[in-house]
């Protein structure tokens, strides 16, 4: 048999550039790079904390300045991107059924945003920012 099936050529490394929908998908996926980088930053901070005051303060001095600000600002942007996307799909990830009906998704999303704001304010309060 000499069947020659049509195989669509799709780039393995740049397929997501074709469509805005794929770009949005990738923008959600790459947030993990920044969450991971921040987690490693916290690992370093805890390690230096365990080594005493001088080690800790020299580490904190190295992450002070405009380049650190720029890096952390990008991390913050992706962290917020992860948060809003995570909350926006919660009605699909865990729909709430009441009797025959499903609870309107906006209440589930709204509850998550409310908890997010309260949790952030609590952290800022205990961190001594406000």
């Amino acid at each position: 048999m000499s069947r020659k099936p049509y195989i669509r050529q799709v780039s393995k490394t740049s397929w997501y550039l074709k469509q805005p929908r794929y770009m949005r998908y990738m923008s959600r996926e790459v947030t993990c790079i920044f969450i991971g980088a921040f987690a490693l930053l916290m690992v370093c901070a805890v390690e230096r904390l365990s080594q005493g005051q001088a080690a800790f303060e020299s580490f904190m001095a190295t992450i002070t300045g405009p380049w650190s600000f720029l890096g952390l600002f990008v991390i913050l942007a992706f962290a917020v991107h992860n948060a809003t996307n995570w909350f926006n799909v919660t009605p699909k990830a865990m729909p709430v059924q009441i009797g025959e009906e499903f609870l309107n998704g906006k209440y589930i999303v709204g509850a998550h945003y409310a908890i997010w704001i309260v949790a952030s304010l609590v952290v800022l309060f205990f961190a001594g920012v406000m």
Binding site: F38, A39, L49, M60, N82, W86, S120, V129
Partner: protein, 113 residues
């Protein structure tokens, strides 16, 4: 039935993603303030040492760091495949080893405080 370790890594991914959604922005904001020279009290040596000395502080830091790491590791594994890096088993070992190393380092360092 075929055995799979997917539920373990996926549940860590989901738990970490949820915790990161609620806490990552505000925690990054604390470090952002520090980078501007306005370090919040909790990021001073005395402040963070007092927090980490308490059992609740230890538990909080270990939970946050561990779940962030395993969330990022699992998602990075999937994302590497999407970017065309198809050696999934190699990628999986690398990212999970980094997450495990970070977890163990954090736990050991916290116990010394």
């Amino acid at each position: 039935m075929a055995k799979s370790n997917k539920p373990i890594f996926w549940s860590l991914f989901a738990a970490g993603g949820t915790l990161a959604a609620f806490l990552a922005p505000v925690l990054v904001l604390l470090f952002l303030l520090l980078s501007l020279g306005h370090a919040p009290a909790v990021l001073s040596y005395a402040g963070l040492h007092a927090f980490a000395a308490h059992w609740f502080g230890k538990l909080f830091l270990l939970a946050v760091i561990t779940l962030f790491l395993w969330h990022a590791a699992h998602r990075l594994r999937v994302t590497a495949f999407d970017f065309g890096l198809r050696q999934d088993s190699v990628v999986a070992v690398v990212v999970y080893l980094i997450a495990a190393a970070g977890t163990i380092t954090t736990a050991l360092c916290l116990l010394r405080i």
